[in-house]
C-alpha cells in the first residue's frame, strides 16, 4: 500500500454537543435529533442511518422537544418559548412563533398530525393548528399550577396526558378540562421529600398512562380510575425519557445513569388475555444521562449527553444476521469538519463558533515502518477566527495554497485573506461579499485558488472569483437543468479547473463545465445518499461513495461509468466492506499513483488500488497485518484492491499533502469523555 510519512494530528479539540431530543418518523424512516447547542440533524434509516441533513445551532435556541407532524414537517420547541418549523430543503428554520406561555418543555403532535400540543412553564397546555404553510394558535386547555414537563396524546386524539411536578393530569381535549389528577410518589429524603418530576409520559390506546419520573420509577396508571397499575423501580436516579413502539407492546426508557431498559408486554400464560409489562433487556451504552429515546419498529434508539447516538436493533424483529442486526454508535457528524491546504501544510478546524488554523509539524529525520519520528518543528496554532453573532458555523474551507479562508453561518458568508510570511500571520476580512450568497451549505476553493464554489439552496452553486489582494466578485450561478428543491451539500472540483460536481439532498449529482459555466451531465440516479465526492486529478473521473457503502467511478469526459466501476458492480463488494458502520466521509487521490483512491470513514482508512483484483467474500478484508508477515512474493499473490488501515481511531479526516505525506486527524473518545461533566455516581461491585 505504499509507505507514507504520517502527521498524526490529535490537537483538534472537537467536542460534539450532547443529544437533547429525538423524534422518529416511522413513515419516512427518518430520525430527527436535536443537540444541546440547538443544532438539528436528520438521519435517514433507509439509507443506512446516514446523517442526511444538518441545521447548525444557534446560541439562543435550545430545543426541548421535536415532533413530526402533517406528513414530513418537523417542528421544534424550546426554552426560548418559540415554536419553530424547520425547512428541511433549505436547511434552516422556516419560521418561529412565540407560544406566550414561557419556556416550552414539551410538545406533541396529535395522531392525525393536524394539531400540536405544547406544554409550557406557566402550566398551560396550548393547542396549535398546523396549516399548510404555518401554525396557528387555536386555544389553551385549562391552566393549572406547575410547569408541564411532558405530554402525550391518546391515540384517538380525544385526551392528553400531562406530566408535571409531583402529578399527572388527563385533559379532555374537547372541553379543555382536566378530568383526572394523579399524584406521584415523591422520593423520601430525611424528614422532607424531594419533588418528583414526571419527565416523560405516554398514553396508550387502552387508556394506560406510562410515566417515568425523577424518583427512578416507571409506572403504569389507569387513566379512567386514576389508579396505579404497576410500578417498576428502574434506577436509583431519574428516568428521563420513554418511548413506546407503534404496536404498544414494547417501551424503551432511558435513565440518568446512562442505562436504557426495554419493557415488554408479555402474556402471563399462553393463550390467556392477561398480560403484564416486564422489564427485559438492559443496555448500558452511554456513560451519561440518556436524555432522549425513540422506538423504531426494529430498534431502540437512544441519545445522551455523551453525544452518542446508539441504535440497538431488536434481534427478534430483525430478520437475518446482516447489516440491520448490528449495534451502531454515532459520535461524530457525517460531515467534513477539517479542511486541508495541501500546498501550505495547513489545517483548518471547524468548531461551532470559531475556526482554528494550524500549521503541521515537521521532521527532518527518516525512519522505518512503524517508527515514531522526532518532531523538529512542533505544530503551531496560527489563528483563531471567532464567528460574530449567535449563529453557529455550518461550513468552512481553506484554499489549497492556504491564502483564503471562507466560512458560512446560516445567514451570511465570510471570506478572509490570510497572509503567511515567515512566521507572522495576518488576516484581512473581505468586506464586500455579494448579498445573494445568504446561505451556504458547502464551500470549496478551486485548485488554483482563483474561485470559490458556494453550494446553495435549490441545487444552485454560486461561483465566486477570488481577487488579489483581497476581494471577490460573483461570477456565475450554476443550476441543474432539471430544477431541484433540495440544497446542495457536497462539492468536488477537478484539479485542472474544468469540472465541478455537486450532490444535492435529492441524491442527484450534477456535473458542470466550468469553462462554459453550464451543466455538463448528470450522473445516473442511484437510490442512496451520496456521502463523498471527488474528481481524479489525472483522469477526471468522478469517484462517488454512497451510504450503502457502494463506490462508483464515473468518467466525466465520457459521461459514463468507467469499466472498473462496472467491474466492481458486477463482482460485488466484499461483505466486510458493505457491513461497515460509518459512511465514507472524504476521498482523496495520490497523484504519484493514479490507480489509487484514498477513502476514509470514522474507523478506518483505505487505499483502493484499482490495478489489483477485487477480494471475494472468502478472503479476509483486513489482512494488512497478516500480509506483513509473508514474503514479498507471497504477499503479491494474496493482495487485493482494499488496503485497510485501522491504526488511527476514530478518524475525522485523512488527506495527502502535496509533498506526499499523509495527514491523519484523530479524536480519541477518551479525550471527549474527559471534557464531559462527571457521570452519576454508581456503586460498582468490588470497588
Amino acid at each position: 500500500m505504499g509507505e507514507f510519512q504520517v502527521h498524526r494530528v490529535r490537537f483538534f479539540a472537537y467536542v460534539p454537543a450532547g443529544i437533547r431530543c429525538l423524534a422518529h418518523s416511522p413513515r419516512s424512516a427518518r430520525l430527527a435529533l436535536a443537540r444541546t447547542d440547538g443544532a438539528l440533524e436528520v438521519y435517514n434509516f433507509a439509507a443506512n442511518y446516514f446523517q442526511e441533513k444538518g441545521i447548525p445551532g444557534h446560541e439562543t435556541r435550545t430545543t426541548e422537544a421535536l415532533c413530526w407532524a402533517a406528513g414530513d414537517r418537523l417542528f421544534g420547541a424550546g426554552l426560548g418559548g418559540d415554536i419553530s418549523e424547520y425547512d428541511l430543503e433549505k436547511l434552516r428554520v422556516k419560521y418561529s412563533l412565540d407560544g406566550f406561555g414561557g419556556p416550552i418543555w414539551s410538545m406533541a403532535a396529535d395522531p392525525s398530525g393536524t394539531q400540536l400540543a405544547v406544554g409550557c412553564e406557566d402550566g398551560s397546555v396550548k393547542l396549535f393548528q398546523v396549516l399548510p404553510d404555518k401554525i396557528q394558535f387555536e386555544r389553551s386547555l385549562d391552566r393549572q399550577k406547575g410547569r408541564i414537563m411532558s405530554l402525550s396524546w391518546h391515540p384517538s386524539g380525544t385526551h392528553i396526558a400531562v406530566g408535571s411536578i409531583d402529578l399527572l393530569r388527563v385533559f379532555d381535549v374537547k372541553s379543555g378540562h382536566a378530568i383526572q389528577r394523579i399524584l406521584v410518589d415523591r422520593r423520601p429524603q430525611g424528614l422532607y421529600s424531594r419533588e418528583c418530576v414526571v419527565w416523560s409520559v405516554a398514553f396508550l390506546s387502552d387508556g394506560t398512562i406510562v410515566s417515568s419520573d425523577s424518583v427512578g420509577k416507571v409506572q403504569f396508571w389507569d387513566s379512567e380510575k386514576g389508579t396505579l397499575l404497576e410500578t417498576h423501580p428502574v434506577s436509583s436516579s431519574a428516568v428521563l425519557c420513554l418511548a413506546v413502539s407503534e404496536e404498544e407492546d414494547s417501551i424503551v426508557v432511558g435513565t440518568s445513569e446512562g442505562a436504557v431498559y426495554q419493557f415488554q408486554l408479555l402474556p402471563v400464560k399462553w393463550g390467556s388475555a392477561e398480560s403484564k409489562w416486564v422489564r427485559t433487556k438492559p443496555f448500558q451504552h452511554h456513560t451519561h444521562d440518556v436524555r432522549a429515546v425513540a422506538h423504531s419498529a426494529t430498534a431502540l434508539i437512544s441519545g445522551g449527553l455523551d453525544a452518542q447516538l446508539v441504535i440497538r436493533p431488536l434481534m427478534e424483529r430483525v430478520h437475518g444476521k446482516g447489516y440491520d442486526a448490528a449495534l451502531r454508535k454515532f459520535t461524530f457528524p457525517h460531515r467534513r469538519l477539517v479542511s486541508c491546504a495541501k500546498k501550505a501544510g495547513l489545517l483548518l478546524f471547524q468548531f461551532p463558533q470559531h475556526l482554528e488554523l494550524w500549521r503541521l509539524g515537521a521532521t527532518n529525520s527518516a525512519g522505518k515502518d512503524g517508527d515514531i519520528l522526532p518532531v523538529s518543528r512542533a505544530p503551531e496554532h496560527l489563528l483563531q477566527l471567532k464567528s460574530k453573532g449567535p449563529e453557529h458555523i455550518c461550513c468552512s474551507c481553506i484554499s489549497l495554497c492556504g491564502s483564503w479562508i471562507a466560512y458560512s453561518t446560516a445567514s451570511r458568508l465570510h471570506l478572509h485573506r490570510v497572509h503567511l510570511e515567515n512566521g507572522s500571520v495576518s488576516v484581512k476580512r473581505v468586506s464586500k461579499v455579494p448579498k445573494l450568497l445568504c446561505s451556504a451549505h458547502q464551500l470549496l476553493c478551486s485548485a488554483d485558488s482563483t474561485s470559490l464554489f458556494v453550494a446553495s439552496d435549490e441545487g444552485a452553486v454560486h461561483v465566486l472569483k477570488l481577487l488579489e489582494p483581497g476581494g471577490c466578485g460573483h461570477l456565475q450561478t450554476l443550476r441543474p437543468n432539471s430544477g431541484s428543491a433540495q440544497a446542495v451539500y457536497l462539492l468536488a472540483a477537478s484539479a485542472d479547473g474544468d469540472w465541478l460536481a455537486a450532490a444535492g439532498g435529492d441524491w442527484e449529482i450534477n456535473v458542470y463545465s466550468l469553462r462554459h459555466f453550464k451543466p455538463h451531465c448528470t450522473v445516473p440516479a442511484y437510490n442512496c445518499a451520496v456521502t463523498a465526492l471527488a474528481i481524479h486529478p489525472v483522469t477526471n473521473n468522478l469517484v462517488i461513495t454512497h451510504s450503502d457503502q457502494q463506490v462508483f467511478e464515473f468518467s466525466i469526459p465520457d459521461r459514463e461509468y468507467t469499466t472498473w466501476s462496472r467491474k466492481v458492480q458486477q463482482h460485488g463488494l466484499h461483505k466486510g466492506w458493505l457491513e461497515r458502520d460509518t459512511p465514507i466521509t472524504h476521498i482523496t487521490f495520490n497523484p504519484k499513483q493514479p490507480a489509487h483512491i484514498l477513502l476514509h470513514d470514522t474507523h478506518m482508512f483505505c487505499i483502493l488500488d484499482k490495478s489489483l483484483p477485487l477480494p471475494d467474500d472468502a478472503t479476509p478484508l483486513m489482512n494488512q497485518t497478516a500480509l506483513k508477515q509473508l514474503s514479498e512474493k507471497a504477499r503479491r499473490g494474496y493482495a487485493h484492491a482494499f488496503k485497510i488501515c485501522k491504526k488511527y481511531q476514530p478518524l475525522l479526516f485523512v488527506d495527502l499533502l502535496e509533498e506526499g505525506s499523509l495527514v491523519v486527524v484523530e479524536r480519541p473518545l477518551m479525550d471527549i469523555k474527559t471534557q464531559l461533566p462527571p457521570p452519576v455516581q454508581q456503586k460498582k461491585f468490588g470497588t
Binding site: 415488554q264 408479555l266 402474556p267 438492559p282 468490588g686
Partner: protein, 750 residues
C-alpha cells in the same frame, strides 16, 4: 443368635444431608431429606429426626411427595429403584425396579401413573450423557414391581436434578446444560433450544447452573456461573423470546426456587446468603445473610410457611417465610481436610474434629447430631478463592476434659508461617470452653504433635502439655499461678525445652501414668523422665523415620510402640531398653484403646486397608480384618461405650468396651458392627410420628407411658443408626451380609 457374627464395616452417621433437595410434607410439619442411603424425616418444629426410611442400597438421589397422596413419598436412588413410602409411619409401601441408575426424580400432579426420571444414556455412566424419560408405574398390588415402560422426553441433558424443572401445570419441562436452555412442550411435542454465548466482553460467564419454573406463570428462571439469574419469558416463540436479568450474586448461583404462589424467587450460592427477589424485580430483594456456608439446595414448603436451604457443611436450615431462621439441622461437618484427627472429648464422649473453617465440632455419634461448635480461630471466614485462611491443625484434650489445647496456623508462603496455640479451660458454669492462654509462635516451625499428661494419678496434679515441632524442639508447658495481688489468674507458660541433635521432633506421647515422655526425633525415639526432664534412653533400631508412637496400657505399660515409614512396627521394652519385637507392616494409623491393652493398627498395602488388633505383649494380632475399605484410612479412634456391649463372639471381645471409628480419605466415617442384619432391620417405625403433633391430654399421657415402657423393652440401642457403606462394597464381608439382608427384607414384607 448362636452363630458367630462376622464383623461388618458400617457407615455410622454423618451422611451428607445436602445430597438432594429436601422436601416438606404438605402441612410443613415434617422435612424429608435424603441422607446417604436413607431418607430422614425431621420434625420442622423440634429439629428431631422422627423416622429413618431405610431400604435403598445406594445413594438416594431424589425425593418428592406423591402428588396424589400427600402422606406418601417417592424416593429414587442410584440402586435403580423408586420406592414409595408412608413417611408418617415410616413404612415402605412399594418398590418399583427400573433397572437404571436414577439421578433425579420428578412427579407431576397432572399425570397420575407416570413419573419422570433422569437416567444415563445406554446405562453407561462414564459417558456424560443423560436423558429425561417418563416411567409408567404399574398399578399392581405387589410389593415389588418392575417398571420398564420408559419413554424418552429429552435427550442429552445435565445429570443434576437442579438442571431440570417442570413448568406450570406440567405444560413444559425446561432443562439446562452448558450454554443451552431446552424447553420441551408436552402438548405440542416440540423442543425449543435457546443458546447463549459463552462469554461477553464484560467478562460474563453464561454457563447455566440451575433452573426453576414459575408455578403460575410462563416464566423460567435460570442461574448462571457468573452469578446472574435470567428470567425467561415468551419462550414458546423461537425468536421473540425475551429474558430479564437479576444480578446480585458474585459467584455461581447454586440453586433457585420459586415460592408456592410464584411471587418471590429465592436464590443462593457460595455467598451463603439467601436472596429473595420479589416479583422478579432487581430492586425488590431481601437478604438472609450469614447462613454459614454455601447454599446447595433451596426448597419451599407447599403451604408457603417455610423455606429450607441445604448447605455444604452438612446442614439444613429451615427458614420462615419472613426470612428468619426457624430451625437448623446440623449433621457432621465434612470439610476438605480433617487436620486435627479424630479426638474424643472425655467429658461428653463426643467425637471432636475440624468443623466449619476455624471451628472445632463436637459430634455425638449416638444421635448423629452435632452437639456444638467451638470457634477456635475467632475470625470472620471470608469466602474468596486464593485467600489463605487460618487453619486449625491440632487439638488435644486433657484426661478429664478440663483443658483443651488447639494449634492454628496460617501459611502465606513457605517462609511466612503464623502459628498460634490456644489453651481452653472448661467452665462448669457456662458448660463451655473459655480461652485461657494464647501463645504466639509456640514453635519456630510447624507443630507436629501435642499431648497432655494424665494428671489424675499424680499427687501434685499440675496440668502439663508437651508440644513437638519441626524446629527440632519439644516444649513442656505447665499451668502456673501468676496471680497478682488483686487478680487471681492462671496461665500456661513454657517450663522446659528439649531437643535431640536438632532433629525435627515428629511425635510425642506420655506413658499411661505420666511418668515417662516419649518423643521421636526423625529416626530416633527418646524417652524422658517427666519429673526432672532428663533423657533416660533412646531407641533407634530399626532405622526409619518414626511415624506413630504410643505407649502400651494397663498390663502392657512397659512397652513402647512405634511405626516407621519404611514399613516396620516396633515394640520396645522399656525395662530392658531393648527391641521386644518388630513386624513388617506398613502401618498408617496406630491407635491404642484407652480402656484396654488393645492397640489397633491400620495398614495399607497396594490397595485396600487392613485392620490388625493386638496386644503389645504378644506380637501376634488376635484380630485381623482384611480390606476394611478401599481408600486410605486417615484417622482412627476408640470411643468408650457408655454401657459395655455384650458381644457373643470371643474374637470381637475387643469391641465390647469401646468402639473403633475411622475416617477415610473420602471423609467417610466408618465403624464396625457385630450386629446382624435382622437386628438392624427391626422396624424402628413402631413409634407413630403423628402422636408427636397431638395435643397432650391425660389420656395421651397415660397411653404414652404405657407405650414407652413397651418400647424401652424392645430395643436397647437402635438409636445408633448404622449404615452399610456403599463405598465399601468390595469388602467380601459386606457382600455376604448384604445378601442376607435382602433375604430378610423380603421375609419381612411377606
Amino acid at each position: 443368635m448362636v452363630a458367630q457374627q462376622p464383623l461388618r464395616v458400617v457407615r455410622c452417621g454423618g451422611s451428607k444431608l445436602s445430597g438432594a433437595r429436601a422436601a416438606f410434607s404438605a402441612d410443613a410439619k415434617y422435612l424429608l431429606c435424603a441422607s446417604g442411603d436413607y431418607v430422614k424425616v425431621y420434625s420442622t418444629a423440634t429439629e428431631k429426626c422422627v423416622h429413618i426410611l431405610q431400604g435403598h442400597t445406594n445413594l438416594v438421589t431424589g425425593i418428592q411427595l406423591n402428588p396424589q397422596n400427600h402422606m406418601q413419598l417417592y424416593s429414587c436412588s442410584l440402586d435403580g429403584t423408586i420406592k414409595l413410602w408412608d413417611f408418617t409411619d415410616g413404612i415402605l409401601i412399594k418398590t418399583f425396579v427400573v433397572g437404571y441408575k436414577l439421578f433425579a426424580f420428578y412427579t407431576l400432579a397432572g399425570s397420575e401413573d407416570s413419573v419422570f426420571i433422569i437416567i444415563p444414556k445406554k446405562n453407561e455412566d462414564f459417558l456424560d450423557w443423560f436423558q429425561l424419560v417418563s416411567v409408567k408405574l404399574p398399578k399392581t398390588p405387589d410389593q415389588e414391581v418392575e417398571a420398564n415402560e420408559l419413554s424418552l422426553i429429552l435427550d442429552d441433558i445435565g445429570q443434576s436434578p437442579k438442571c431440570t424443572a417442570f413448568g406450570r401445570e406440567g405444560e413444559y419441562v425446561a432443562s439446562v446444560r452448558g450454554l443451552d436452555l431446552l424447553v420441551y412442550f408436552f402438548k405440542k411435542k416440540k423442543v425449543n433450544r435457546f443458546p447463549l454465548s459463552a462469554t461477553s466482553r464484560k467478562g460474563a460467564n453464561n454457563y447455566f447452573t440451575c433452573v426453576a419454573c414459575h408455578p403460575k406463570e410462563d416464566c423460567i428462571a435460570s442461574g448462571h456461573k457468573d452469578g446472574k439469574i435470567r428470567l425467561w419469558r415468551n419462550f414458546n416463540h423461537k425468536r421473540e423470546y425475551t429474558f430479564s436479568t437479576l444480578h446480585w450474586h458474585h459467584d455461581v448461583v447454586m440453586d433457585l426456587a420459586f415460592s408456592v404462589e410464584g411471587t418471590s424467587l429465592l436464590s443462593g450460592g457460595v455467598e451463603s446468603v439467601l436472596v429473595q427477589w420479589r416479583e422478579g424485580s432487581d430492586y425488590k430483594k431481601e437478604f438472609l445473610p450469614r447462613l454459614g456456608s454455601t447454599i446447595e439446595h433451596i426448597s419451599a414448603s407447599p403451604d408457603g410457611t417455610f423455606y429450607c436451604t441445604s448447605h455444604t457443611e452438612n446442614k439444613i436450615t429451615i427458614i420462615h417465610s419472613n426470612l428468619s431462621v426457624s430451625a437448623v439441622i446440623q449433621g457432621l461437618v465434612k470439610g476438605s481436610d480433617v487436620k486435627t484427627g479424630l479426638v474424643v472429648d472425655p467429658r461428653t464422649k463426643a467425637l471432636v474434629l475440624n468443623g466449619k473453617p476455624g471451628h472445632l465440632q463436637f459430634y455425638c455419634l449416638q444421635t448423629d447430631k452435632q452437639l456444638y461448635n467451638l470457634d477456635i480461630v475467632q475470625q470472620e471466614y471470608i469466602h474468596q478463592i486464593g485467600l489463605n485462611q487460618v487453619d486449625l491443625v491440632k487439638a488435644a484434650f486433657s484426661a478429664q476434659g478440663s483443658w483443651l489445647a488447639t494449634v492454628e496456623q496460617r501459611e502465606e508462603k513457605e517462609t511466612e508461617l503464623e502459628l498460634q496455640m490456644k489453651l481452653w479451660n472448661y467452665d462448669e458454669q457456662t458448660q463451655s470452653f473459655t480461652l485461657n492462654t494464647r501463645i504466639n509462635m509456640p514453635h519456630e516451625d510447624h507443630v507436629t504433635a501435642l499431648c497432655f499428661r494424665d494428671t489424675d494419678e499424680l499427687e501434685d496434679g499440675t496440668p502439663t502439655l508437651v508440644t513437638a515441632g519441626n524446629d527440632g524442639r519439644f516444649k513442656v508447658w505447665v499451668l502456673v499461678n501468676d496471680s497478682d495481688s488483686e487478680k487471681q489468674s492462671m496461665g500456661w507458660s513454657c517450663d522446659f525445652v528439649g531437643s535431640y541433635h536438632n532433629y525435627p521432633a515428629t511425635n510425642c506421647c506420655f506413658s499411661e501414668d505420666g511418668s515417662l515422655l516419649a518423643v521421636s526425633f526423625e529416626e530416633t525415639v527418646t524417652v524422658w523422665n517427666s519429673d526432672t526432664w532428663d533423657l533416660i534412653c533412646t531407641f533407634c533400631h530399626p532405622p526409619g523415620r518414626i511415624q506413630n508412637l504410643c505407649f502400651g496400657r494397663l498390663s502392657c505399660s512397659k512397652y513402647l510402640l512405634g511405626t516407621t515409614d519404611n514399613g516396620f512396627l516396633c515394640c520396645w521394652n522399656l525395662l530392658s531398653c531393648a527391641l521386644e519385637w518388630s513386624a513388617q507392616l506398613n502401618v498408617m494409623v496406630l491407635q491404642p484403646d484407652p480402656l484396654s491393652e488393645n492397640i489397633a493398627a491400620v495398614s495399607r498395602l497396594l490397595e485396600g486397608s487392613d485392620l490388625f488388633v493386638f496386644k503389645p505383649n504378644e506380637p501376634r494380632p488376635f484380630c485381623i480384618q482384611r480390606n476394611v475399605c478401599r481408600e486410605r484410612v486417615q484417622w482412627a479412634v476408640f470411643i468408650p461405650r457408655d454401657v459395655p456391649d455384650s458381644i457373643g463372639s470371643e474374637k470381637h471381645q475387643w469391641l465390647s468396651r469401646s468402639q473403633l471409628y475411622f475416617l477415610t480419605e473420602t471423609q467417610d466415617l466408618l465403624t464396625f458392627s457385630t450386629k446382624s442384619a435382622e437386628e438392624r432391620l427391626t422396624p424402628s417405625s413402631k413409634q407413630l410420628a403423628v402422636e408427636e403433633s397431638l395435643p397432650m391430654t391425660p389420656f395421651s399421657l397415660l397411653l404414652g407411658k404405657h407405650r414407652h415402657q413397651q418400647r424401652s423393652k424392645e430395643n436397647a440401642d437402635l438409636d445408633t443408626a448404622v449404615v452399610q457403606s456403599h463405598l465399601a462394597q468390595d469388602s467380601p464381608a459386606i457382600k455376604e451380609v448384604r445378601e442376607r439382608e435382602s433375604v430378610c427384607e423380603i421375609n419381612m414384607h411377606i
